[in-house]
């Protein structure tokens, strides 16, 4: 007879795995990635490819150098690379994409000990790094050319949030076009419909709960309305949907209890509107989530569940 395996209970498992969680996020990002290519052509595809490959390669090499177990199979580097790509402007140089992806993995994740130990959302760390270091490149926006895969025009324009804030002159797109993604912005943030489809998939697969996206979006709507702005515009503008559905819900960097997630979402929402309307940047999703990431340990501690029977 073979030797019997002896280990602690439970002896059966649901079959879930980290790669399944990450794989679902990748699938959920497919519509938004497709929309990016549809609106910004092959070059958008190149940005995505460079970001993803650099991210995975960076993790692979880092783990080789520090002699750690290779974990690229868990797909988390792929997710971080793709998320970073989707937050970038459509004509950014591929070299900056490469730098951003390396920074995302090294300083967003690896130096903290790898997936699970990183306090900040890696993709947003990468984006913040690019935005602060190359503000011009990160602030050059172009009108989408729906269906045209090769770049023809090169006229810069302003994002709806910049126009709304009075930092630039231009015509605001109507809400219908904003919903479909036909407006200037980062690669993956514009197509609201595609992002919502992805979010629905994550909900059905139970990879995320509704708490963070709902509380985040609702708070943005409420606070922008209090400031006399059109709440629907603020929901569809900027990177709110991408952030609320895919970034703020990152399990590693968000609270674990539903109560904590509510606090987190509301905090993100308030900060986002404050930065958008009163801060030095036209958009505040990236920095709001990063700031709230820093508060997660505190939120976790304050929102422990009440032990059954206590």
């Amino acid at each position: 007879m073979n030797t019997l395996l002896v280990k602690s209970s439970p002896h059966i498992h649901s079959g879930s795995s980290i790669s399944e969680v990450m794989g679902d996020v990748l699938l959920a990002l497919l519509p938004a990635s497709g929309a990016a290519i549809y609106f910004y052509g092959y070059y958008a595809g190149a940005i995505i490819l460079v970001a993803v490959l650099s991210a995975v390669l960076t993790e692979y090499l880092w783990q080789k150098i520090v002699r750690r177990e290779n974990t690229i199979g868990d797909l988390s580097a792929l997710v971080s690379g793709l998320l970073l790509a989707l937050t970038l402007p459509p004509r950014i140089s591929l070299f900056l994409v490469f730098l951003g992806a390396v920074f995302t993995i090294l300083f967003g994740k690896c130096i903290f000990g790898g997936l699970g130990y990183n306090p900040f959302n890696p993709a947003l760390v990468g984006r913040a790094f690019l935005q602060i270091s190359w503000p011009r490149a990160m602030g050059s926006w172009f009108l989408p050319q729906a269906g045209q895969l090769t770049i023809t025009s090169a006229t810069t324009t302003a994002t709806p949030l910049m126009i709304d804030k009075g930092e630039a002159v231009g015509q605001l797109p109507d809400l219908g076009n904003m919903f479909l993604g036909n407006r200037a912005g980062s690669l993956g943030e514009t197509a609201a419909l595609a992002l919502l489809l992805g979010g629905l998939y994550l909900l059905i697969r139970r990879q995320i709960t509704l708490t963070i996206p709902l509380s985040y979006i609702f708070t943005v709507a409420l606070v922008s309305w209090l400031f006399g702005k059109n709440p629907l515009f603020h929901i569809l503008a900027g990177g709110l949907l991408l952030g609320a559905i895919f970034m703020a819900t990152d399990p590693v960097t968000s609270p674990v209890t539903e109560k904590g997630r509510l606090v987190f979402g509301v905090g993100c929402g308030i900060l986002t509107v404050l930065i958008r309307l009163k801060g030095g940047f036209p958009e505040g999703v990236c920095f709001s989530i990063l700031i709230m990431n820093a508060l997660v340990p505190l939120i976790d501690r304050m929102t422990l569940k009440k032990v059954f029977g206590k």
Partner: protein
């Protein structure tokens, strides 16, 4: 007060729906061949071990007491066969992780029994004290899991006001169907046992709780309680770990047992259906606990079945009379797959609180290395005690015991929901068990 109530919705915090894999549901209870020898550990219950009262070479009868209770929280052990005591030695207990003294009896196959004298068959004429004493003498323990001495449970402090007896027929562990079968085949004897319990506790009513994935058991129990004015039936939506004492009390009665407390503090005593059956055998027929029904299942055993097995039968013999094991055998578990104990060999005996023996193949079990916690919070969502398994797991990995003690590890019921859903496949239960152990040591 209801006669039969079909519950719905979420009745207790957390919980999961593991694949039920109840391959043996609906199979009749089969008798088993006589074992060649039996190994009877002197501790098959929670508490002090029994003291051996036989010597090597003694001839013992089936039903004869071979170990006597050694204190208030202790119960005797009886022989399940007739034959000669070969050895009294230390063996590895299948459910306790330490060697314990056991009596080894070679079966002579004669099945010569002591005279079972049902002195208390007219139980309603006797007092709680007399009946509790008798139940203790008959070696009865909780057959559902922990093996807590039944006499102790049926004798709560005088200040306790127990109004409800909950009869646990939830059997929420995957694979296990022993209680299901017992309810189908011995409903009236279970009901008789319930009446004895009600009399002893002087409680107003009893509720039999069964999960809705056992329609035949529900039907037969419903039939059996029809004439009983103070026994009713609760049909619960299937959800693991509903059979946990605290979970069941919350689900059926909405009462919450205080942390660190016992059910009688909220007016409840919980007994498993198999225990009610054993009480009936003891009081009405005068039979001590010598055998029980177990589920033998898993994809690595050829003939899965519900078997009536004599206590002390070796797992190797169980495997043999169930057609043998296949090449795929990777793990043997005593109990259910969520809370049962993995066995290192088949030399272990079936004991009083063995609800099943699972012969599991490689595909059925989780044997992957664990990864770092990604804080997904699933364990927090499924924990029926509302603990933070993720934090406990990470703290114990870093051996931060003092910090871990702040997150109520002692409230953990070790149901395994957290580890079952963990995408990083972390050994959370093992880590919390360690925390519990170290916290208890620290407290002393």
């Amino acid at each position: 007060m209801f006669k039969k109530k079909i519950f719905s919705g979420r009745l207790f915090p957390g919980g999961v729906h593991p694949r039920s894999n109840k391959y043996t549901a609906g199979l009749p209870v089969k008798d088993s061949p006589q074992p060649k020898k039996v190994i009877l550990p002197l501790i098959q219950h929670f508490g002090q071990p029994a003291r051996a009262i036989v010597k090597v070479q003694d001839y013992v009868l089936r039903g004869q007491m071979i170990g006597e209770a050694s204190g208030a929280i202790s119960v005797p052990v009886h022989s399940s066969v007739s034959g000669i005591v070969k050895e009294i030695a230390l063996i590895n207990h299948p459910l306790l992780t330490r060697p314990v003294e056991a009596v080894v009896i070679e079966n002579d196959g004669q099945d010569s029994s002591v005279n079972f004298s049902p002195r208390y068959a007219e139980y309603y004429r006797y007092s709680r004290q007399e009946l509790v004493e008798e139940i203790k003498k008959m070696g009865i323990v909780g057959l559902g899991g922990a093996g807590f001495p039944t006499a102790v449970k049926l004798n709560p402090p005088a200040t306790a006001e127990v109004d409800v007896v909950l009869i646990n027929g939830a059997e929420c562990e995957p694979y296990l169907t022993a209680d299901d079968c017992l309810m189908q085949e011995k409903a009236s004897e279970i009901v008789s046992g319930i009446k004895i319990i009600l009399h002893i506790l002087n409680a107003d009513r009893a509720v039999v709780a069964i999960e809705d994935n056992k329609p035949l058991a529900i039907k037969s129990m419903e039939e059996a309680i029809r004439q009983q004015p103070n026994i009713s039936l609760a049909v619960l939506p299937t959800r693991y770990p509903q059979g946990g004492e605290k979970q069941l009390i919350k689900a059926v009665l909405g009462r919450v047992v205080p942390s660190g407390g016992l059910p009688y503090q909220v007016g409840v005593v919980v007994q498993n259906v198999a225990t009610a059956y054993a009480i009936n055998r003891a009081i009405i027929f005068g039979e001590p606990l010598m055998e029980r029904i177990i589920t033998v299942s898993g994809r690595a055993v050829k003939e899965p079945a519900n078997r009536k097995v004599r206590l002390g039968t070796l797992l190797s013999e169980v495997a043999e009379f169930c057609g043998g094991v296949t090449e795929e055998l990777a793990m043997v578990v005593m109990g259910g797959p969520m809370m049962g104990l993995a066995q290192s060999s088949l030399d272990a005996p079936v004991v009083k609180n063995t609800s099943g023996v699972l012969f599991l193949s490689r595909e059925e079990i989780n044997d992957e290395d664990f990864r770092q916690c990604i804080r997904c919070g699933r364990c927090v969502r499924v924990c029926p005690m509302n603990l933070m398994p993720n934090i406990l797991s990470v703290l114990m990995e870093k051996e931060m015991i003092k910090e871990a003690a702040n997150f109520s590890p002692l409230d953990c019921i070790e149901c395994g929901c957290c580890a079952y859903v963990c995408p990083a496949k972390r050994p959370i239960v093992q880590q919390i068990r360690q925390a519990k152990m170290l916290c208890t040591v620290e407290a002393k």
